[in-house]
Chain length 217, copies 4
DNA sequence: CATGAATGAGGTTTCATTCAT
DNA sequence: AATGAATGAAACCTCATTCAT
């Protein structure tokens, strides 16, 4: 019995707790999905006890919603930045955009989060809607706007700009999904960098109005 | 232990088992996911009683695996047919393929099944692998083979054929996912028919070597 | 390990279970009240396991309501009998009635049940109402009817018959409550038999119209 | 252990403790009973915080005992007063007493408190005993004494004075219980004022020795 | 084979109580 | 003396699984 062993049984962390809980819960929910996730695991991971969760979130569902929304908010910023960051010719944007997606998404938890939202879209359709409206739609609108401008300038073939946007990013999304769903370091899904480069070339050739100028690419 | 017991990882066993169970279970699993699905619901839907399920499947997990595998088997046939059905120029295949995907997938339960596999890929990585190896990879191989042939004939630009395949079908996959996740006829996802037509044109322009055109690459 | 020890882990008692459960639950609810009662105790007392309760009653509240209603139904019969059993002069009925109450109630669980209903009347006002309408009111109506008839014959003084009924049975009810609330065999509450006899005499003297005949009592 | 520490079982200790807590707790305990009452609610109602309760009471049970005892103390005074207030003929006291009960109790929280004590009499038999010894018994003793005196004077028929006391107040107690249990102004329970008047007449006629005049009152 | 009553482990949630601040 | 975050022991309830019928 060391007299100096006066470690407190716990400390109050009112400020830090919510973030820690969200962080822990995000991990567990991504790992197991909503209904297979155990609040005991979340608590353990957050360094607290199951009962303490209920000081911050009234129910498991509340925690889940908070987790997803906080996580989505984090991505809004990245999108906001990207929106204003780039103003220029579509021919220059697309390769850069796809490369960034290839590089950035590989490490981030965005695909995992997306998978979670997809998984629970039947049980939580409102979250799927939030995810769409606040993340996906904004991203698409950015792209769609640039496409429409390029069409106005006569650089890009006519057609539904949203469809063109799908042509641009669809293959990247599909590949990210592959990497997320299939075990890591599998050779089954194409390399993201290669895909970004080669598809950028392909889709630009397909979209741009063929001028006599071969310097398009 | 008979040496000849070289059971395949994914054989068509137990085909005598009541289709109603598989049918009911597929519905429930798609609706709620694995862990939120209740065997009581499955049984009720199959017109039997929970205990009876255990005459056919030892555990809930066994049932889940069987359901997914049987469902995937169904799609193998379609792919098998498609594989041999088409032999011709890529320029003719792509529009037809995308149109078929747009038309056929809309009604089928393939997207829902895909979502289920995606959802449970962390808990059942082997099922994700099976889904990939037996469905997705075969589909991709068909396409990749045709692309490689077209490249050999000088019709298609060089580059990784698998990446080209992603350029072709990625947008369709992304759109199908949208329709699956954002329920109902929301106007948030593009019309599949329009996408198929417009993207086919785009991607073909991007992939085909322009005859007479010096801007090839 | 006796080979003959082939006792089953359980037996199916679908018919008997509900009664056994109600019986056990009545005991536990009377002992502890609704919210302090533990379903585990109920189950143990019924010789089953907690989970089994839920095959018969969906929630603790459902069980409670069933318990009270079944218990009340049991007493309806006694009342029904009493109603038709006695047709005669009030002067003869009252002593008999009070003596029966004194004798019958002492052993029965009616006072305990009444205490339970009283206890939970704030949480389950509908049960209190049921108890009143089906048990108390019927009993009162029987008495009130006889009083009114006696009044019509000029035997009993005028006045609200219901109030007269309270004059007759109120002291008995109060004494029963005393015995129920205060520990048994305490000398704090009056003896029920003595009370029945002495109060019958008192109340009849008070109610009957004084004829010149002193043989009233 | 000071020998002089002969603390009474029920002393007026801790009178310095915030009345708000007792007040709030009484309300909550009456509303929900002991085990369904939440200390959080008590604290909220007292304008403090749950933890603060423990500065004053070590456990929920301690608080409950204190609440009930303090509440009972309040009624002692009323009884004390009544005891000495009236010295006179029983025939004059009874109507006044019953009228006062009818008028006073309707507003007071005595019936609610009684119901609480009744409810928890199984869990807290000592409180039921305290309630009886200090409130009920004193009230009864007052009445019993007067009855005995009246019997000595030949005004009241012989018989157990306690039983006579029950004859007098039993109907009032029963009616108060009715009003307490069957909430709101339901027409199921008789009007207290009518009952007091009519029963006083009845019981006095029943108790008083008929002087030459049979129409006693 | 089929049934469905019964099980029992485990999950979410509540809340009296403790204790660092 | 007061606070309220944190605890932890249940409590209610669910449901995959077993097994007597």
């Amino acid at each position: 019995m060391d007299v100096t062993d006066n470690k407190p049984k716990w400390s109050r962390r009112k400020e830090a707790r919510p973030t820690e809980i969200i962080e822990a819960a995000l991990h567990v929910f991504i790992e197991h999905g909503f209904s297979a996730a155990k609040l005991d695991d979340v608590a353990k991971r957050a360094g607290i006890v199951k009962g303490t969760l209920y000081r911050y979130y009234d129910t498991k569902e509340d925690l889940f919603r908070a987790v997803v929304q906080v996580a989505l908010e984090g991505h809004l910023q990245g999108i906001e930045q990207a929106t204003t960051a780039f103003r220029g010719a579509l021919g220059e944007l697309v390769p850069v955009l796809l490369r960034r997606v290839a590089e950035g998404m590989g490490e981030s938890r965005v695909p995992a989060l997306a998978r979670l939202v997809i998984s629970e879209s039947r049980s939580f359709p409102d979250l799927a809607r939030i995810w769409h409206d606040n993340v996906v739609a904004k991203m698409l609108m950015l792209l769609t706007g640039l496409i429409a401008e390029a069409q106005a300038r006569g650089e890009v073939r006519p057609g539904d700009p949203t469809v063109h946007a799908f042509s641009i990013i669809g293959p990247m999304v599909m590949a990210l999904l592959f990497h997320e769903v299939l075990d890591t370091d599998s050779n089954h899904a194409p390399d993201l960098g290669t895909l970004a480069r080669q598809h950028a070339e392909t889709v630009l050739r397909g979209l741009m109005v063929a001028s006599g100028d071969p310097s398009v690419l």
